[in-house]
Amino acid sequence: MPFDRTRMTINYLTMEATKQITRKLTGSKAMAQALEQEMNRDKNIFIMGEDVGKYGGIFGSTTGLYEKFGQERIMDTPISETGFIGAAIGAAAEGLRPIVELMFVDFHGVVMDQIYNHMAKIPYMSGGSVKLPIVLLTAVGGGYSDAAQHSQTLYASFGHLPGMKVVAPTFPNDIKGMLISAIRDDNPVVFMFHKTLQGLGWMDQLDASLGPVPEEVYTTPLDKAKVVREGKDVTIVGVQMMTVEALKAADKLVERGIDAEVIDLRSIKPIDKETLLKSVAKTGRMVVVDEDYYSYGITAEVSAIVASEGFKHLKAPIARLAIPDVPIPYSRVLEKYVIPDANDIINAVENMVTY
């Protein structure tokens, strides 16, 4: 066979295409890509939710999917959360793999019975004989004056209840990988995506909401935190926007001679104790920062883990930054006051290093 240079080149490129192409995607595009790839793989997957069809999800999670899969698999629902999220349970028990979107996590109130008394408990109550492979997508977070009923994260409310995996990735790469893992998991997974990290044109534009995402299908574990910045003086633990603020704070702390390590928690439940303890063993100091309420929240959980299992490493009391047990206020000045930011983190770290 004669040497065919053209063909070789094409083959080489094809190989590249399947293995190594990485594009910069926004959070919402990363979500949509994960959903599309998984829906192509498994015909049992379908999506239900309000405005997930032609609109593409209010926060862009299902962009373009209606055009690709049609209304049989991308189903707009009435405003009937108890109905359609409850229906996901019934369909999952019959062997389908429903993905349902609760438009804002704040709307959990109208459907929590289905989520927490049924979706989360049936696998256990059935002794494992009923599997509910459901992904509950839901948008979280504030910072744009959407007030008390549309700005919460409620990480801890879901993390508190046994029977659901709860994840909240920050960066597009993790969003895709963790969403694929969530879809393949045989357990109910609550997949929280932060509105501001979706990279939507009509919200604040953040560098963090755009990042490299491999085109290939890959999975990211649902139970591992990630060290997103290595440091030796203090550990800052965040989730989603608080990870972004922690990284901002870490950059500024360098100017003050403080080398901060930043952990993106990613998984609310189960929580990755190992990564937290390993980091605090190195730094001896910890700030936990949360865009959820203070009491009984992530800051309390992480602090309790470190206090019980890593006490000997601590050189200073753990600092907890979270929303000070008030509903999220509307007025910008009030909302800014209650949601922690990089300056609050810097202050907390500075107090700690002089302890």
Binding site: E50, D51, G53, K54, Y55, I58, D76, T77, P78, I79, S80, E81, T82, G83, D106, F107, G109, V110, G143, Y144, S145, D146, A147, A148, Q149, H150, G201, W202, M203, D204, P324, D325, V326, P327, P329, Y330, S331, R332, V333, L334, E335, K336, Y337, V338
Partner: protein, 329 residues
């Protein structure tokens, strides 16, 4: 409240115009700081903004039959209902601007307006106000008053569990409740056809053994007539009812909504049948008002609304630490 129909119709006209002018100013105020690049969190009025332009008859033609002591629960699109109910316009506007002088001291925002003086409330969760109205009606009945409660909802809320539970309770306990369904055809991007198994929701009244009324084509006069009957029935202890009015949503679900889901000419067709213009024409034809009367009225309305905006804009923002107050009273 009003002695005769002429007074009532002028009152309805006034409230509809006030609401329309208020919303037109809000449309502009909301866009401040959001151009050329739209950012939902920017400008003097940040966050979501749901405007009611076109839906005025649903509110004004119902609330004309109510007094200050009757209760109204409203929706996430609450301005027309609030204005008709007589919510303090200055404080309401200040709230929407996030000011200390607002109804909720800047804590609530446009979807969360509370004015207990005129028994008005609203909220951001679809359908959630219906049981509150049931509770108000229950209280009215327990107290032995002839006060009524009116829940305004959208056609989308009829498919929530809260609606069905509430209607059964209201019927079971024969409560003085009227539910007004503002059918603007769209639940954000989902059409009524794609969300609702029956063409009109007034027929659902049969499921609760109560009275159902339908008002076609956003008609302020028909809405007035039907509401009057429903409110009178409730006051006399004849039980709850449901009114569905076909109304128009001129703008997006929220400001900034790309509206790719609806036909491009839908809104222009609706605007050509504007209910305020239709009522104006009726008032003139029936010689219930002259052009001059309405001109004077319009001036008064603009002044009232302008004053409210001026008050809001000139008011101070709360101090940051005030975020910590009012969790417990």
């Amino acid at each position: 409240m009003k002695k005769n129909s002429k007074q009532d119709l002028l009152w309805i006209y006034r409230k509809m115009k006030t609401s329309r002018y208020f919303e037109e100013r809000m449309e502009k105020a909301y866009l401040e700081g959001k151009q050329p690049v739209f950012n939902i969190g920017a400008g003097p009025v940040p966050g979501e903004m749901h405007l009611s332009n076109g839906q005025e008859p649903a509110a004004a033609s119902m609330i004309v039959n109510l007094t200050k002591d009757d209760t109204v629960t409203a929706t996430h699109r609450p301005h027309h209902q609030a204005i008709a109910k007589g919510v303090d316009l200055k404080k309401m506007t200040a709230e929407i601007f996030g000011k200390k002088t607002g109804l909720g001291k800047g804590k609530g925002g446009h979807m969360h307006l509370f004015d207990p003086i005129v028994k008005f409330s609203c909220g951001g969760i679809v359908g959630a106000g219906i049981p509150h109205a049931v509770g108000a009606a229950l209280a009215n009945k327990k107290k032995g008053t002839d006060r009524v409660a009116v829940a305004f909802i959208g056609e989308g809320a009829v498919n929530s569990g809260a609606f069905h539970e509430s209607m059964n309770l209201a019927a079971l306990w024969n409560l003085p409740l009227v539910v007004v369904v503002e059918d603007n055809s769209w639940g954000i991007s989902v059409s009524k056809k794609n969300s609702t198994c029956v063409p009109t929701n007034d027929v659902r009244a049969a499921a609760y053994g109560i009275k159902g009324y339908g008002v076609r084509d956003n008609d302020p006069l028909k809405m007035y007539e039907v509401s009057k009957e429903a409110v009178e029935r409730a006051r006399k202890g004849e039980g709850p009812s449901i009114i569905e009015i076909e109304t128009y949503r001129y703008l997006g679900h929220f400001q900034g909504d790309p509206e790719l889901y609806r036909p491009k000419d839908e809104v222009s067709k609706l605007r050509a049948k504007d209910p305020i213009e239709r009522l104006k024409k009726y008032l003139l034809e029936e010689t219930l008002a002259s052009e001059e009367d309405l001109r004077v009225l319009d001036q008064e309305i603009m002044k009232e609304v302008d004053n409210a905006y001026e008050f809001a804009i000139n008011s101070a923002y709360p101090e940051p630490e005030e975020a910590l107050e009012d969790v417990f009273v």
